[in-house]
């Protein structure tokens, strides 16, 4: 502490307009030069919370969509028709072999420019906005990985079990839904967890096409207030918390879904 009296006097002055919590951080910024502006400035706090909410929204939508794409893609991979299998293979190659940032830029700048425009409050804007493209790009990107993850799980289901299902009269679709997928899903869960964790972290790339998510909000704040170090720490802690939450939820789910005696 530079001077406890100085800090005390600052707190006394600041308490007039701010709450004790906010006053503490304002004095921390003015006297110790440790500037956590999101804790005392309502404009910055608002921006950061909007960013956090957008990240959560983007993550949840992409999580659900990519798992759905994975399930459907894995099923189509086992199709009788060679064309279907080739289309799925082509999709996986395209989205796995290209970096997500390149995909994002391609969709937003290249594809977006040629799409039809719709009126929006006096201007003509492209039909899909930046948030939309982020959802599409990240869902397809993670979905491609999920298809392969589910394929690994499906292949781990014993052939004998599938044959038994056929013998009992299950159609291919119903065997997939009732027998194969539940078993494959449980086996794929650790690898799927990995991919979903990566997905949450990948959402920061949306910053490049001006989606107002958390990194974007933090960058705006530190560009104006010049507190990069503090905002970086806040970002890191928040991402650790978000990913930790996902891992905890998936862990609970994994334990709830365990088939006693089936796996080690």
């Amino acid at each position: 502490m530079a001077d406890p009296d100085l800090f005390g006097r600052c707190m006394a002055d600041a308490r007039g307009a701010l709450s004790a919590f906010e006053a503490y951080f304002k004095c921390l910024a003015d006297i110790e030069r440790i500037n956590f502006s999101i804790f005392y400035d309502s404009l910055d706090r608002g921006r950061f919370l909007v960013g956090l909410w957008t990240t959560v929204k983007l993550s949840v939508i992409c999580l659900v969509a990519s798992v759905a794409i994975g399930v459907v893609g894995a099923w189509l991979q086992g199709s009788r028709f060679a064309l279907t299998r080739r289309i799925v293979q082509g999709y996986i190659q395209f989205f796995r072999n290209t970096p997500p940032l390149v995909q994002l830029a391609f969709f937003y700048f290249a594809v977006g420019a040629v799409l039809p425009r719709v009126p929006d409050g006096g201007q003509m804007v492209p039909i899909v906005g930046s948030f939309g493209w982020a959802v599409i790009a990240f869902s397809f990107f993670a979905g491609a990985f999920n298809v392969e993850i589910f394929r690994a799980g499906i292949q781990a289901v014993p052939r004998a079990t599938v044959e038994a299902a056929e013998a009992l009269g299950y159609s291919r679709l119903r065997a997939y839904g009732h027998i194969v997928l539940p078993l494959a899903f449980r086996i794929s869960l650790p690898a799927l967890n990995n991919n979903l964790v990566n997905l949450i972290k990948t959402t920061t790339l949306a910053y490049a096409i001006a989606v107002p998510e958390m990194l974007y909000a933090a960058a705006q704040i530190w560009s104006e207030v010049l507190n990069v170090r503090e905002m970086m720490n806040v970002l890191l802690v928040t991402y650790v918390a978000l990913v930790g939450l996902l891992v905890w939820v998936m862990g609970r789910w994994e334990r709830a879904m365990r088939i006693p005696g089936y796996s080690a």
Partner: protein, 274 residues
């Protein structure tokens, strides 16, 4: 084994400590010793710092950097920077000096040393399609306006005129978004907008700079706060004064096709006699 590693690590830090402290003081001596001056420049802001067809960084600011290096008799290493990272690079020691269209503001002076006399002054304006029919600043209220991270005028324009700011990491991204119809205007410095329109590129045929330039802002060369009143800072200040006195800045302005700036004319007159 772990204990001996710890001792080694602590010993290394003990050595580095005083060495790091001594380093901060004499940037000029360090530059002369290394024979290289490392400068942060823009490579996407025609005609101040941009890439020519062969991939080399050229521009008015590059000419100024080369002049400074020639005075010291050292080579130049140019590191491309953007508004959002240039001050951090300087303070981390990655670059010795910022010559990258940096606006001189009171907040930034707390973090970076600004060299006076300032070498230029720019103003704020927008690039918009003629069909958007923007006539004054209040027309952008509620409309999507592309901008670039870290620009000093974003906050002021955002608060005064309440557009919906769509902020990108760099100028080319924002320009692409404008062309793609993702925003109705691009908020930026009038010198860049002027040179974009003047470049004669067909895609800007239907665009204009419709509003009155506001908020004239001085640009400055940035050095570390510790260097500002030290030998390095004094050297850059002297060079900057000589540029104004000799009219070199006005010459370079004409060479690169920049619209004549009243600030440069006034400063040249003021310092000419001294």
């Amino acid at each position: 084994m772990l204990k001996s590693m710890m001792k080694l690590a602590i010993g290394a830090f003990a050595l580095l400590g005083p060495a790091a402290a001594a380093q901060a003081q004499d940037t000029l001596a360090k530059i002369k010793e290394k024979g290289v001056i490392v400068v942060g420049v823009k490579n996407d802001y025609r005609p101040w710092g941009f890439l020519d067809p062969s991939g080399k960084i050229v521009g008015m600011e590059i000419d100024l950097v080369n002049d400074l290096a020639a005075r010291l008799g050292v080579k130049v290493e140019m590191i491309p920077v953007i508004a959002a990272n240039r001050m951090e690079f300087l303070n981390q020691g990655r670059i010795d000096m910022i010559l990258a269209t940096m606006g001189d503001t009171a907040d930034r002076r707390k973090v970076v040393g600004m060299v006076e006399p300032n070498y230029y002054a720019g103003g704020t304006n927008v690039l918009a399609p003629k069909s958007a029919n923007l006539k004054q600043w209040t027309d952008i209220k509620g409309k999507k306006v592309c901008a670039v991270q870290g620009a000093y005028y974003n906050r002021r324009v955002g608060q005064l005129y309440s557009p919906e700011l769509v902020v990108f990491p760099a100028v080319p991204d924002a320009l692409n978004a404008l062309l793609g119809g993702n925003c109705v205007a691009f908020l930026f410095d009038d010198t860049l907008i002027g040179s974009t329109l003047a470049s004669g590129d067909a895609k800007w045929k239907d665009y204009e700079m419709p509003l009155a330039s506001e908020d004239p802002q001085l640009w400055a060369i940035g050095v570390r706060l510790a260097d500002l009143n030290g030998p390095f800072g004094e050297f850059v200040k002297k060079a900057s004064t000589e540029w104004h006195k000799s009219g070199k800045l006005i010459e370079l302005e004409k060479k690169w096709g920049i619209k004549s700036s009243p600030y440069l004319k006034a400063t040249h007159e003021k310092l000419k006699g001294s």
